[in-house]
Amino acid sequence: MFHLAFLVPLFPLIGSIVNGFFGLRIGKKAVGWVACGTVAFSFLVTLLMLGQLLFTPAEERLFEQTLFTWMAAGDFNAAFGFQIDPLSMVMMMVVTGVGFLIHVYSIGYMHDEYSYYRFFAYLNLFMFSMLLLVMGNNFLMMFIGWEGVGLCSYFLIGYYFEKKSACDAGTKAFVMNRVGDFAFLLAIMYIFYLFGTIDYTEVFHAAPEKLILGAEPVTIITLLLFVGATGKSAQIPLYTWLPDAMEGPTPVSALIHAATMVTAGVYMVVRCSVLFNMAPFSMSVVAFIGGGTAIFAATIGMTQFDIKRVLAYSTVSQIGYMFLACGVGAYTAAIFHLVTHAFFKACLFLGSGSVIHGLHGEQDMRKMGDLKKHQPVTYITFLISTLAIAGIFPLSGFFSKDEILYHALMDGNTILWGMGVTGALLTAFYMFRLVFMTFWGESRVDPHVHPHESPKVMTLPLVILAGLAAFGGLLGIPLVHGWHALHNWLEPVLHFDMASTLEHSKHLLHEVGRHAPHWEALLIEPEENIWIEISLMLLSLTVALTGIAGAYFCYVKKPGLPDELIKGQWGYDLVKNKYEVDEFYDATFVEPTIQGSLLLWKKGDAQGIDGAVNGVAQILGWCGQQARVVQSGFVRNYALFMVLGFIMLLFIMFF
C-alpha cells in the first residue's frame, strides 16, 4: 500500500492543473467536483496507508519511497522521496481530511465568485505543496513544500486582487515569510555542511553522534530553523502578516491560516525534535516565544471587532501554545494540540464564514447579534468549537491544552505554566465575547440585511468538524497509562535517548580536552503524578469557566460595562491598536527610509508606503535611483567606470 504514497500529492496536482487550464471551459459544477474529488482520493489513499501502518509493528513504522534521485552533486544527494511514518501520517490525515471538508464547504461559499476555477486551482495547488511539505523525506523536500505553500498563500490572500488591501496583505505575508525562509534555507545549508546529507533519517541518526549537546552548531541550526518556523507559523516577531492575511476568502483562512500551513512550523520543530532535544537553549527560546505569543496575541484578540481578525489572533495564540509545548519537550502534546486545533479552528473559521455569508459580507461584530435563531446549525457548531477551544471538559481542546499545561509545569517552569494559564483565561474570555456578540443579545444587524442559514454544502462540513472538535480529545486520554493513543503512536518517531547522547557528548568534549557542563538536570524525568494532573485539570476548567463567566457578565448581562471600563484607558487603546507593532515596524523600517530619501534625494516618494515590506523596497529603490544616475547612457562615462573599476581592483590586489 505504501508504494501508493506518491498518489497522495499527485491527485491535488492533477486537480490543480485541470482546473487551472480548463476551469473556464468545464463549468463551475465540474470544477467543484474535480477539486473535491481529487482531495477525496488523496484522503482515501491516506486512509488505506493508515490502515496498513496500524498493522505494522510499532518499531517498523517507517517507510521511505524514493521516486527518483532529484540531483546528485558531489557528495550532495537529494532524492525526490516520501517518508511515511506516524508523524507524517498524522499530518497527512489532518491535511487531507480537514482539507477535503473545507473544499466541500468552498463550493457553497465561493459559489457566486467569477473566477471560481482560479480559487480551486490555487487551493488544490496548496494541498499539493502542503502534502509535499509533510511527506518529504529530506529537508529539501520540506523546503520545496514550504515555498510552495507560501506562494499559494500569497496567491490566495491576494485573491480579491481588485482590493488594494488584499494585494498589500499578500505581499506582506510573502515578504515576511521570506525572512523566515531565508533562515530556514541557511539552516538547511548548515545541516548539509555538518552532516553531508539532508535526509531526515541520516541526519537524525548522525546528530547524537556528531554534535555536542548544547554546543554552538546545534544551537545555531535549531535557532535558524525556529526563525523559519516563526515566519510560517506567525510567531513573535514575524506574526503581523497573519491578521492581515484575513483579506483572503474565508475557506482559505480556515485551511491555510488556521488548520494546516501555519502549523507547518510546529511540524518542522517536532520533525527535528532530535536536534532540538540537543539544544536546551533553543528549547527555552522556543518555549518562551511560544508562551509569549500565546498571551500577547490573546490580549489583542480581546479588543478586535472584526470576527475573522479575532480568530486570526486566536490562531496566533494557539500556535504559541504548540510551540510552548515543543519548548518543554512535550512534542506529543504539541501535535495533539495541532490536531485538535485544526478541528475546532477550521470549524470556527468556517462558521464565521457562514455568518459572513449569511450577512452578505458583514464582518464587524458590532453589526451582528442574536444570530442564533437565524443560523441555528452554525450557532450550535460554533458553540461546540468555542467550548473546545476554551478548554471545557470533555471537548477536545480541554485534553490537548491541559496536557501542554501539565508538561509545562512538570518541566519545572512555573513562569511558562503561568503564561499558559493566563492565556487560557484570555482565550475563554475573547472566544465567548465573540460568541455572545455574534449570536446572542440584541440584533444590531443592518435592517436591510436578512440573515439566513447557509446551504447544506456549507453546514455539513461544519457539523462534521464540530463532531471532530467534540470527540477529537479521545485521541489522547490522559491519566491512564497506555491509553494516550497519540502518545503511543508517535513514540517511535520521537524516541530520543538522552542518557547515551549525553555520554557521547561528554566523550566528544573530552577528546578535545574540555569538561562537560552540568547536564545532569536534563536527565531528570519528571515523575508522573496523577493527582497533580487531576488538580491541574480542575484548575484549568475553573479558569476557563471564569473566562466564560466574565464574558457573559460583560457582554450579555451588562453590555454597556466594557465601554465604561475602557473609557480613557490608554492601555486599552494600546492593545486595540495591536500594541502598535505595525506602527513600530513602520517607524523602524519605513520612516528612516523616508527621512533618508528626503535628505539625500530632496524628494522622497513617501506616499503609499505602508508596512516594512515597502520600506525595504524603498531602500532598494533609492539605490536603484542612484544606479540610474550612474547609468547615464554616455559611452565616456561607462569607459570611465571601467577605468575606475580597474583602479579599484588594482588597489585591492596590491594593498
Binding site: A73, I144, F182, L186, R628, V635, M642, I652, M653
Partner: protein, 477 residues
C-alpha cells in the same frame, strides 16, 4: 635557414569549427541568390548547427590536446559546444518570425550567428591565450554587427556603437593582460603557465598579478560583470530581441568557459591573489544587478540587469574552481539558456509590428487574456529567481554547494540573500500579469516557431528542475 616547427595538426578535433565555418560561408553565398524567402538559409543554418553538435563527438578518449597544446577537446568543451549550438539554434528559431515582423531581411544575420558560434567554440576549447583572444574577437565582431542589424532603428545603432567602442576598450585591457602574463611566464599556453606557477618559476610576480587584474577586466567586460557591465542594459535594450537573448546566453557562456580555463585551471595556485578580486566583482554584480533591475520599467532592461546579477552567481562557480565548479558552471549555463530564451520568446510573442510592448506595464492583465503565456512567463521568471523545483533553483543550488564545499560560506550567504532580493522584481512582473487590469488590447499572433522555442524552453526549465539528475550525471562524467 631555421626550421619552422610545424604544429601537430589534428583536423578531427577541430571538426565542429570547420563544419560550422563551412556552413556559415554556405549561408552567406546562398543568401546572395535567394533574395526574398529566407527558409532555405534558415534551414541550412539549422542543419549546420546540428552537424556541428554531432561532430563535437568525433573524438573519443578525452581529453585530446592538439595544435601544440593550444586546442583541447575535453568534456567541458564538448558540453559547451552543445550549449552553444542549442542557444544558436534557439536564437535562429526565435528570429524567424521576429525578423519577418520587424523587417530584418539580411541573410547575413544567420551567417553572423553561425560565425559567432564558431568563435564561441574556439573560445571554449582554447588552451592558448592567443587562441582565446582570437575566439573573443570573432565572437565580439559578430555581435557588434548583430546588435546593430536593425539599421533604421537609432536604438539599435546606438547599441552597436556603444558595444563596439567599449568592447574595443575592454579588448585593450584583455590583450594587455595577456602580454603581461606572457611577460611574466614567457608563454601563452595555459598548461605551461600552470606548470610554471606550480614550480614557482615566474619571472616577476607583480607583472603576473597586474596581468591577472587586466585579464579580469577583459573577461569581466565580456561577461558583463560589475563594474564593467554598463554596456549591458543599453545594448540589450537596443539590440533586436532574439540577438539579446543570444548575447545573454551563448557568448556569455563562451567567455565563462575561457574565464574558467584561465583562472580555475591555469592559475589555481595563485588563487589567493585573484580570489578576493573575483569575490568582490561577484558580490558587486549580484547587488548592482538586482538593485538596478528593481528600478526598471522596461522588460528588456530588467532582464539585462538580472543577467548581470546572474553573472555574479556564475562567477561563484569560477571562484569555487573545483571540478564541481566546472560542472555547475555548465549546468547553470544550460539552465540559464532555457530560462532566458523562454522569457525572451514570450517578450517577442507579446510584441507586435508597431509596438514591441516592452514596458512592464504592457503586461498588465496578461493572465486574463492569455493564461498560458502568463503561466509560462511566470515559470521562466520564477526559475530565474531560483524557485524550486525549477531549473534555476537546481542550478543555483549546485553552484552554491560547490562554493560551500570550498568554504566560501559568506559569499554563498550573500548570494542567497541576493536571490531573495531578485524575487522582488521577478514577482513585480508576475503581479502585473495577474493582478492588474489589462490596459490595452493584446494583439498576439502566435507565431509558430516562437511558440516552439517557448515550448522547448518550458520543457527544459521544468525538466531540468524536476529531473536534473541525468544532466548532472552527464556534466560530472
Amino acid at each position: 635557414m631555421e626550421h619552422i616547427p610545424s604544429p601537430t595538426v589534428d583536423l578531427v578535433s577541430l571538426a565542429p569549427v570547420l563544419v560550422l565555418s563551412v556552413f556559415a560561408m554556405m549561408v552567406l553565398l546562398v543568401d546572395l541568390y535567394v533574395k526574398r524567402d529566407k527558409t532555405l538559409v534558415i534551414f541550412i543554418s539549422l542543419v549546420g548547427l546540428l552537424m556541428t553538435a554531432i561532430s563535437a563527438f568525433a573524438k573519443f578518449d578525452l581529453p585530446v590536446h592538439s595544435f601544440n597544446d593550444s586546442y583541447v577537446v575535453d568534456e567541458l568543451s564538448v558540453f559547451f559546444i552543445m550549449i552553444f549550438t542549442l542557444s544558436s539554434a534557439l536564437a535562429i528559431l526565435l528570429s524567424i518570425d521576429y525578423n519577418k515582423r520587424e523587417g530584418i531581411r539580411m541573410g547575413e544575420y544567420y551567417s553572423l550567428i553561425l560565425l559567432c558560434t564558431v568563435g564561441m567554440i574556439l573560445l571554449a576549447s582554447s588552451t592558448d591565450m592567443i587562441m582565446i583572444f582570437l575566439g573573443i574577437e570573432i565572437v565580439s565582431i559578430c555581435l557588434y554587427v548583430l546588435a546593430g542589424i536593425r539599421r533604421s532603428d537609432p536604438k539599435s545603432n546606438e547599441a552597436a556603437l556603444k558595444y563596439f567602442l567599449l568592447g574595443a576598450f575592454a579588448t585593450g585591457f584583455l590583450l594587455y593582460g595577456m602580454t603581461l602574463v606572457y611577460g611574466a611566464t614567457g608563454t601563452t599556453k595555459l598548461g605551461l603557465i600552470a606548470e610554471l606557477i606550480r614550480e614557482e618559476q615566474i619571472a616577476s610576480k607583480p607583472l603576473m598579478l597586474m596581468g591577472i587584474v587586466l585579464l579580469i577586466i577583459g573577461f569581466g567586460f565580456k561577461v558583463a560583470s560589475v563594474p564593467f557591465h554598463m554596456w549591458a542594459p543599453d545594448v540589450y535594450h537596443g539590440a533586436p530581441t532574439p540577438v539579446t537573448a543570444f548575447m545573454a546566453v551563448g557568448p556569455k557562456a563562451a567567455a565563462f568557459a575561457a574565464f574558467f580555463r584561465v583562472f580555475a585551471e591555469a592559475m589555481p595556485v595563485l588563487s589567493p591573489s585573484w580570489e578576493s578580486l573575483l569575490c568582490i566583482v561577484a558580490v558587486l554584480s549580484m547587488f548592482i544587478g538586482n538593485v538596478g533591475a528593481i528600478m526598471q520599467t522596461n522588460i528588456k532592461r530588467l532582464l539585462a540587469y538580472s543577467s548581470v546579477s546572474h553573472v555574479g552567481y556564475i562567477l561563484i562557480a569560477v571562484i569555487a574552481k573545483n571540478s564541481l565548479g566546472s560542472s555547475s558552471l555548465v549546468f547553470y549555463m544550460l539552465a540559464y539558456a532555457f530560462m532566458i530564451f523562454g522569457a525572451f520568446g514570450i517578450v517577442i510573442l507579446i510584441g507586435r509590428k508597431e509596438n514591441e510592448m516592452l514596458e512592464i506595464a504592457d503586461y498588465s492583465g496578461l493572465a486574463y487574456k492569455h493564461p498560458l503565456m502568463a503561466i509560462s512567463m511566470s515559470v521562466f521568471l520564477l526559475s530565474l529567481g531560483g524557485m524550486p523545483p525549477l531549473a534555476g533553483f537546481v542550478a543555483k543550488f549546485y553552484i552554491f554547494s560547490a562554493a560551500i564545499k570550498e568554504g566560501f560560506v559568506t559569499l554563498v550567504v550573500l548570494a542567497v540573500l541576493n536571490s531573495v532580493i531578485s524575487f522582488y522584481y521577478y514577482l513585480k512582473v508576475i503581479v502585473y500579469m495577474y493582478m492588474k487590469e489589462p490596459e490595452g488590447e493584446f494583439q498576439i499572433s502566435l507565431a509558430p516557431m516562437t511558440v516552439f522555442v517557448v515550448v522547448i524552453a518550458m520543457v527544459g526549465t521544468a525538466g531540468l528542475g524536476i529531473f536534473p539528475d541525468p544532466i548532472l550525471y552527464f556534466t560530472q562524467h
